[in-house]
């Protein structure tokens, strides 16, 4: 249990800046997920917290201590690696006990703690096996067990589920969440999978090219993305994006996608943009729905299009339709069978429409209601 604070932390390899001036404060028992595309610096950040990479600038605090120059063993952190990193020459029991043995914990206490961890993770039956005899999911659990026996201040997870198949990944995701509820420790978790980030995190840190793009609760970053990158990265399917220019008409301001395709500027953004402003429209598939499937929006627009592609997902169906000059994804909840080529009318929920400044990519903030 400890706070973790990163102040202006950066990492430079030769000429390459892997992490640039990151500021991050992680609370007691908070579950923070660092997420971003590969090469965004998320793993490097985690490894700097662990002490496996030296920092090039700034400072890292764990609890009340500045740990910049402390070796990993002094930091009281536990790390779970993507490839599990179980010691192949030791049994599961020895793997779990290794850290405690190093700390010269008395034998009896080690046995108790190993038994406790094994119980939490359901490893009792496996204690005398060798790592080579375990399945991927079992290895993952042993790796987590190795972390929890030591009661560390901070848990660090480096893409722990990436080597598992899809079904097991979902299952282990829930287990990790349950484990966090049970053992109550500060967690820093790295993943490139936004679903993992959204489902696990108290707060999500979205990174790109060594910089933090946005920090917020899953809800917050989903509904109020700070910029176009975050908007597109979070959510599945990714947010639909169209270039547009704001124009003044007799009916008020409109977002002109091309000469004969436009949407009204929604009320919550009307005072934020002027005619001539070059913007990017962001609309999630959830906000483009076939008429009659769901409540019509309070503030909406309607368009018609033939359906190009139908992707049924069971509880909902994704429809690829023409939105003016470009293609967009619409979502049909409580779906019926739709033929490709069939023409439907669609409601656009303007209340959820996002605008981004085209040159900076930053979100144009809505007026508070």
């Amino acid at each position: 249990m400890a706070k973790v604070r990163l102040e202006n932390v950066s990492k430079v390899y030769g000429d390459v800046v892997a992490v640039r001036d990151i500021d991050l404060e992680i609370d007691h028992n908070e579950f923070v997920v660092l997420v971003g595309p590969s090469g965004c610096g998320k793993s490097t950040t985690l490894r700097m917290i662990a002490g496996l990479e030296e920092i090039s600038g700034g400072s890292i605090h764990i609890g009340d201590r500045v740990v910049n120059d402390e070796p990993p063993r002094m930091r009281n952190v536990a790390m779970v690696f993507q490839n599990y990193a179980l010691y192949p020459h030791m049994s599961v029991r020895e793997n779990l006990a290794f850290g405690l043995t190093l700390a010269r914990v008395p034998r009896r206490e080690i046995d108790l703690k190993v038994a406790e961890a094994a119980d939490i993770l359901g490893l009792d039956e496996l204690l005398d096996r060798q790592p080579a005899q375990l399945s991927g999911g079992e290895r993952q659990r042993v790796a987590m067990g190795r972390a929890i026996v030591r009661h560390p201040d901070v848990f660090l997870f480096d893409e722990p589920l990436s080597n598992l198949d899809a079904q097991l990944r979902t299952q282990m995701r829930t287990e990790i969440k349950r484990l966090h509820r049970k053992v109550k420790t500060t967690v820093v978790y790295v993943t490139h999978d936004q679903v993992e980030a959204m489902t696990l995190a108290d707060r999500v840190v979205i990174m790109r090219a060594g910089k933090v793009e946005q920090i917020g609760t899953p809800d917050n970053i989903f509904h109020y993305p700070a910029n176009a990158f975050v908007a597109k990265f979070i959510g599945s399917p990714p947010m639909n994006m169209f270039d547009a220019v704001v124009a003044e008409t007799t009916d008020g301001k409109v977002l002109r996608v091309d000469s004969d395709w436009q949407l009204p500027v929604p009320r919550h953004l009307a005072t934020r943009v002027e005619a001539g402003h070059e913007v990017v429209i962001g609309l999630r598939a959830d906000d483009i729905t076939p008429r009659g499937h769901g409540m019509p929006p309070r503030e909406g627009a309607v368009f018609e299009s033939a359906v190009n592609i139908v992707e049924p997902l069971g509880s909902e169906t994704l429809l690829f339709v023409n939105f003016g000059p470009s293609e967009t994804i619409a979502k049909m909840v409580r779906p019926r069978t739709v033929q490709e080529g069939e023409t439907l009318s669609f409601d656009v929920n303007l209340e959820e429409l996002k605008l981004f400044d085209r040159s900076s990519g930053q979100a144009i903030e809505r007026t508070r209601a």
């Binding site: 662990a50 002490g51 496996l52 070796p71 990993p72 063993r73 930091r75 952190v77 536990a78 790390m79 690696f81 490839n83 990193a85 010691y87 192949p88 020459h89 290794f98 850290g99 190093l102 700390a103 190795r146 030591r150 660090l156």
Partner: protein, 280 residues
Amino acid sequence: MSGLSHRRGVSRLLGRLELVVIWVVTAVALAPFLWLMVTAFKHRTDVMSPTPKILFSPTLSNFHEAFVIGPFTTNLINSLVTASASTLLCLVLGLPAAYAFSRFRVYGEKHVFFYVLTTRMAPGIALVLPLYMFFQSIGLLGTLTAVTVAQTTFNLALVVYLMRNFFNDIPRELDEAALTEGAGEWQVFTRIILPLARPGIAVTAMISFLFAWNEFLFAFMLGGTGAQTLPAAFPGLVTPHGTYWGQLAAASVVVSIPVLIMIWFIQRHLTRGLTFGAVK
């Protein structure tokens, strides 16, 4: 159908041919050794017989003359001592060095590693004179220490090179996992890396032992009469009065025994040891 059976016939023929080639190569390779084995058990008269004798009454007299009457038992012990000691020294010095080369990024590390390798590439004959003068000046010439140290300098590079490859194949995450679990660098090395590298260490130790065991030049020049190893004692059997073929053969058989035993042990690991890290 006939095409297929024809092809099968051709491949069977090739298989036979392959077998013939293997037998010929084996015979050529083994012939001198067989001659040696046979000679070791022949009486002096049978050895010197102008027409090679296939049938003869075997005797142990050559072994008796070389090892009981002659000094070869002492030489054998010297060989065992120097080869074991230099192997141990090579491992003690070489394993940490190899680990450091495998794991730590140090400025100029590649140059240092290349320098280590060149110590093995240098011709022994070029090194033996300076070593001779060096050991003479510190009064160690003709001692087991001198031979051991000289063989260590020569085999250390091999140990560092082979073991670095073995260490490179151990995932770095294991080191990192141990580090975050509270281990220091030395504990990582002794408790994770060394146990995992055990097969590699075994192979490397045996190769190092064999090289020291077989080594002639340093042992001959630096060991003098006081620390003569088995190979270094061989020239003593070539005398102005004649060559003691029987005793030479007997000593050769004995000197080959540890080699055969070790080859038998490591044949499964040998190729892996030498190519470790090269393919992966």
